[in-house]
Amino acid sequence: MPFIADLQKYKSLSIVGMDKNTGKTVCLNYVLSRLRNMGIKTAVTSIGIDGERVDQVFGSHKPEITLYEGMQFITSEKHYNTRQLLSKVIDVDTERTALGRLITAEVLCSGKVLLSGAGTTEKLRRQINAFENNNIDITIIDGALSRMSLASPSVTDAMILCTGAAVSPNIRQLIVKTRFTFDLINLPAIENHELANRLSQHTAGLWAVDNDGMIHDLEIPSVFLLEKSTQDIFSHGNTLYVSGAVSDKLLKYLSTKKNIAEQTLIVRDFTKLFVTPEVYAAYTKKGGRIQVLQQSKLVAVCLNPTSPHGYTIDSDDACLRLSEALGVPTWDVCKIKQ
């Protein structure tokens, strides 16, 4: 029974995919089937539209989610009315989504349902809190498309990363890409907790941190305006904090600076990094370092050997090589059930 015991430590778990069709739903079904009978009160929801019977992008088969007696879930009114299970309504949200209001319900007899959830991570956070207040032990969020934002440690405590043939049918490429995401997830958190706490208060802009841990406003509201600024961003030392998104552009810009080997760039968490492997590699190779305020807890890496185009890779080989490359076990979601 791989990694399930670890889940008891967390209040919330996100299941995110590196791409579509990387087996998030199969993985979720596995986790739910294991949590059943473990006496862990579980709630499930998703972000955005997901759980469609037929995949919205490729039109391929997509498994529904099986929920068990006693579990709670949130889905839209439309999907609630098409459920294939017995459940009771316990709350109805006033806000409307494209698929109607969000319904919170409790399963009376196990069966299948399509999940669709909140559109924003902010709303998701509120739902997780509400479940926690209702004595739910763990809330599991099914990711949509390749959205990573829900894996932010400010939203969910832990995550499962799904990868697979959909990312690349070439195992070597698949490993390179997965390894890159894995590295970002495992970026080290800054050691100074007190500083991390102070930095997290700043929700916008670019900030400098000097050697005494003092934070200085560089008065650049967004890193996208960096080039327009004439200010020396390293006048307070070599450490910068960016509260928002970080793109290739910023890393390239920083790579051109002469103090690149001494630089430390602090970001909120790995979901704020929108960088390509090449630019990231160039930045780190020159000596640049990236740290996060909060590190994400990666519980497991799961692999779906089948791509939506019908191509299947050798699962055993891929799992083995991924496990070696990442240094953590990787599970085939299709075989994990046995």
Binding site: S33, R36, Y68, E69, E77, Y80, N81, Q84, L86, S87, K88, V89, I90, D91, V92, T94, R101, I103, E106, L108, C109, S110, G111, K337, Q338
Partner: protein, 476 residues
């Protein structure tokens, strides 16, 4: 005329509406559809309702209960569509039935709280206990809903079978072949469909039973929306120290009238706000005074207070005795519409023209800020004279601010006192100038207006050369 139609007319009025602490969507909806009232007896009812709540809110114990009621009101959903569905005899799904049950439960809880608060006779929440008993057959009194087993004796057995089979499949799924799983799933689907068809029969019975209560459901929803709004009105009246107006047919008078938005903005900046007393009679009242003496604010505030009163709110004053009108018209001059190709003068004069025509049919409050100020002073003055003499014998209340003197019209004149020279101690800046202004209104029998424009320019430290040149021109 509905509140939502006039909301955008004046920002200060919109501020008062936006600041109401309304809990429910139905309450906000009710607010937006409030009607402009012109009959004193209708308004008395509204104001008295607010007054009674307000009195109860002053008692801290009752206040707590009212807060609880507000919290419950926050859970009310707008289920008008569902009620319509019941009326049409449609079957309701679990979510809709949950919503009806939720309304029934909340209204019963609110009714109980209002009894505890001594407000039951006032709130008169329609009794939905029969609706609740339909949707809560097990008497759980919690807002959960599904088609309970107690609705139909067959449901228990069917669901037991369903559970047993599902659990068995879940337990042994990993040991089964694909086709064995399919067999199990087919059996489960069959039982599930049986369950659905029994549920369908129950839904029919429920729809039938509920259809006898649609009037009560509508009444409850409407009443709760009204209570929500009225509590918000009372809360605002206490917080802003507003008062319940009296009505009469001949004049409109306030003591310590204030403009809520401006007062709050100034208070926030720790600046002084001066309430004012005013009493106007039918016909025209000219308002004169130096620049920066708050004449425009006065016009706006008069309009806001009148509108609040006629939509059933308390007014921002210590006391008020008002004459009800058919409508309030603002000609404040921010309505220049270049998009229509009209100059500021053209759009202003067209608006005034409309007002004058309307005044033959309606009793109005007309607020005109410095009419004809954007054209040449010779004709401009004549236009103001014409407006004033035309409106003076109408039964509308026309307030006109102006800088033109010697209009020669026999109408009421009020003058803002203006600068209190004796008070000036330090340096005057555009930021603190309002500290030295006395906004008190006084009767003015002369036909002259204050000539303080240059003085104010001086106080504001404008170029001395400019001021000297202007004085030179003035003397010659």
């Amino acid at each position: 005329m509905l509140l939502k139609d006039v909301l955008a007319i004046e920002n200060g009025f919109k501020y008062c509406i936006d600041e109401l602490n309304i809990q429910s969507g139905v309450g906000r909806n009710y607010l937006m559809n409030l009607r402009w009232q012109t009959r004193p007896q209708d308004l008395e009812l509204e104001w008295n309702f607010v007054e009674e709540i307000l009195q109860q809110m002053l008692n801290s114990e009752t206040q707590k209960l009212i807060s609880k009621i507000q919290h419950k009101l926050g859970g009310i959903h707008n289920i008008k569509q569902t009620i319509l569905n019941i009326e049409n005899g449609d079957l309701l799904d679990d979510v809709q039935l949950f919503e009806v049950k939720n309304l029934a439960l909340l209204s019963i809880e609110i009714s109980a709280l209002s009894e505890e608060a001594g407000l039951k006779h006032l709130f008169l929440v329609p009794d939905l206990s029969e609706v609740l008993s339909i949707l809560d057959p097990d008497r759980n009194n919690i807002a959960h809903f599904y088609i309970y087993e107690s609705y139909d004796p067959r449901l228990g057995e069917v669901r037991n079978n369903l559970k047993q089979l599902s659990n068995k499949l879940n337990d042994i799924r990993t040991t089964l072949s694909e086709s064995e799983i399919s067999d199990y799933e087919a059996q489960i689907t069959e039982i599930y469909n049986l369950n659905q068809s029994i549920e369908e029969e129950v839904r029919k019975t429920l729809a039938d039973k509920l259809s006898r209560h649609t009037l009560m459901l509508k009444a409850a929803l409407e009443r709760l929306a009204y209570i929500d709004l009225s509590i918000a009105k009372a809360e605002q009246a206490i917080k802003w120290q507003m008062s319940k107006p009296d009505t009469n047919h001949t004049h409109t008078a306030y003591t310590e009238l204030f403009n809520p938005r401006l007062k709050h903005a100034l208070t926030e900046r720790k600046q002084r706000y001066q309430n004012i007393d005013i009493d106007i009679k039918e016909g025209v009242c000219l308002i004169t005074g130096a620049n920066m003496a708050g004449k425009t604010v006065l016009l706006k505030t008069m309009g806001i207070a009148q509108m609040l009163a006629q939509f059933g709110f308390f007014v921002p004053a210590k006391s008020a005795n008002i004459s009800l009108v058919d409508k309030v018209v603002f000609c404040i001059g921010d309505e220049q519409n270049e998009m229509n190709g009209l100059s500021s003068f053209a759009s202003e004069i067209l608006k005034i023209n409309e007002v004058i025509q309307d005044s033959r049919r309606f009793k109005m409050m007309i607020l005109i800020d410095e009419p004809a100020r954007t054209t040449n002073p010779t004709e401009g003055k004549a236009i103001v004279q014409a407006i004033a003499s035309t409106m003076n014998d109408k039964d509308s209340y026309t307030l006109i601010t102006t800088h033109y003197s010697r209009l020669g019209i026999d109408c009421r004149k009020l003058r803002v006192k203006g600068f209190a020279d004796s008070e000036i101690t330090g340096t005057i800046t555009p930021q603190n100038i309002n500290q030295y202004m006395d906004y008190t209104l006084q009767e003015d029998t002369s036909d002259n207006v204050p000539h303080e424009a240059l003085r104010i320019a001086e106080i504001l430290n404008c170029d001395p050369q400019l001021i000297a040149t202007a004085k030179n021109f003035l003397e010659n």
